[in-house]
């Protein structure tokens, strides 16, 4: 049975799971981006998280804040592109809300992801429904907030979080892109998943899967 908090060891596993998942899904992400964008999303993400793996190893034993800040600093300062800014912001905001903590509770997690969502909204200026990674983030964070308010178990909360993220990702299929490269294609974007929403689902899912390890 899962404990009611995420240890720093588990947080490190979460990051490893993100890296593994992105590596596995590289081609799929590029193919999705190829349909609506410039087809580099998988390559960009894989290159980024290959480096993240190296950067985070030396701080594997540190607190959750340090682990996530290490990810965020690298993504923010070295990757570039919309992804560098958005995911960099996401990880830095997550980190800032758990500075010094070796255990993160569901309440902590809800606060962390609320901050992350706000950061993404501020920098990306997207709305829910614009067919971006925000369509994955927003319902997942709402689910986390609800679980926390209802004092659900961490296991239940993470399962709901993963499911909400997945539904959010799936919702992008029927949307018209309003942001980024894909927005130039207008109606032609209907029927395709958004690449960023999909990579974001893989990242959020890794929080659920990484804890299980």
């Amino acid at each position: 049975m899962m404990s009611e908090s995420i240890s720093n060891k588990q947080m490190y596993h979460i990051v490893e799971t993100i890296c593994d998942t992105i590596e596995e899904q590289q081609q799929y992400l590029s193919d999705l981006d190829g349909e609506l964008g410039d087809g580099d999303h998988g390559v960009n993400m894989a290159k980024c998280f290959r480096e993240v793996r190296k950067k985070v190893e030396p701080v594997a034993d540190k607190d959750c804040g340090t682990i996530l800040k290490t990810v965020g600093m690298y993504v923010m300062n070295s990757v570039g592109g919309a992804m560098g800014a958005l995911y960099g912001t996401m990880f830095l905001k997550l980190a800032a809300e758990c500075t010094g903590k070796t255990e993160v509770t569901l309440d902590d997690l809800a606060r962390m992801f609320t901050a992350a969502e706000n950061g993404i909204r501020t920098i990306g200026k997207a709305q829910v429904g614009d067919k971006t990674l925000l369509d994955t983030v927003a319902p997942a964070v709402a689910s986390l907030q609800k679980s926390a308010a209802e004092h659900k178990s961490l296991t239940e909360a993470l399962a709901a979080f993963e499911m909400a993220a997945k539904n959010g990702m799936e919702s992008t299929r029927d949307l018209i892109a309003k942001m980024g490269r894909a927005s130039r294609l207008g109606e032609r974007t209907i029927g395709h998943l958004d690449a960023g929403a999909t990579s974001c689902y893989f990242i959020l899912r890794s929080f659920a899967h990484g804890v299980e390890k």
């Binding site: 410039d38 580099d40 960009n44 570039g80 560098g84 920098i123 980024g180 130039r184």
Partner: protein
Amino acid sequence: MKKFINDPFNLVDEMLDGFLAVHKKKIRKLEDVRSIARTDAPVAGKVGIVSGGGSGHKPAFIGFCGEGMLDAVAVGEIFTSPPPLACYEAVKAANGGKGVLILLGNYAGDVMNFQMSADLSAADGIEVEQVILTDDVASAPKGQENRRRGVSGAFLCWKVAGAKAAAGGSLAECKEVVERVNANTRTIGVALSPCTVPAKGSPTFVLADDEMEYGVGHHGEPGTERIKMMSLDDTVQKMMNEILVDLPFTKGDNVAVVINGLGSTPQIELYAAFRKVKSILDTEKINIENAYVGEFFTGLEMAGFSITLSKLDPEIKSLLDAPASTPCYTC
């Protein structure tokens, strides 16, 4: 993919090593980040002009860093905007105490990363302004100009901004004149073949032997139409029809023309294209004051070109003619 490369992920760094070695008299690298600045930056008492963006557009952006144009440039991966830290250090390097103007193309990544760098710089007490360039008529309809991509018209904006700053213009004045250039500049591009991002390894699009991508972007973004091959003159005529009505440009206007090769189109074809542009403008009684033909803003090895028209006023004309000395443009 046939390219002269080693590890594709090292290409930008290797290019930059070579570039810095060749042009060491004019530019230097900033510490810890992938950004460059003119050797004498910051120039005290002058507004700093900063730009940057993804690599693969050479001579843009770094080729235009130097006296009379850009003070500092942030360098991204191929077709990927540079991270905030690189932009922030570029702003700091350009800051001569009179404020810094950032010119950027209208791409999600550039907008986000430069915004973050502007926030960081403002927190440092540096006065920062941004102008987002939007000259590509193919990328959004008239009335939605602020959604358009920034493409080869940027060359004129960099030149004018750099000259205005060199002439002692204030930050507000530099910003105003670039906004004026951007508002009066229109570009459209066409491609015959795609480019391949080395790290990706496959072309950005695929065209049949008798097709052109009309309205293509500098990264190989899909255009507005996929049309059958036409003669050069018909192609130019179609492009000009679209540009001329968009601003519109009318009889008696004075303009600058840029014919910009997108990568692998021989200069011979670019100059032949200029000939047709000129004959159309002669007929319309629009007067070409400045003409630039060559590569200014490429998309790797894409075969294609763009036509930029920019309506001039006497101030803009004189700023275009002011001296500049950069690795890839000297006048």
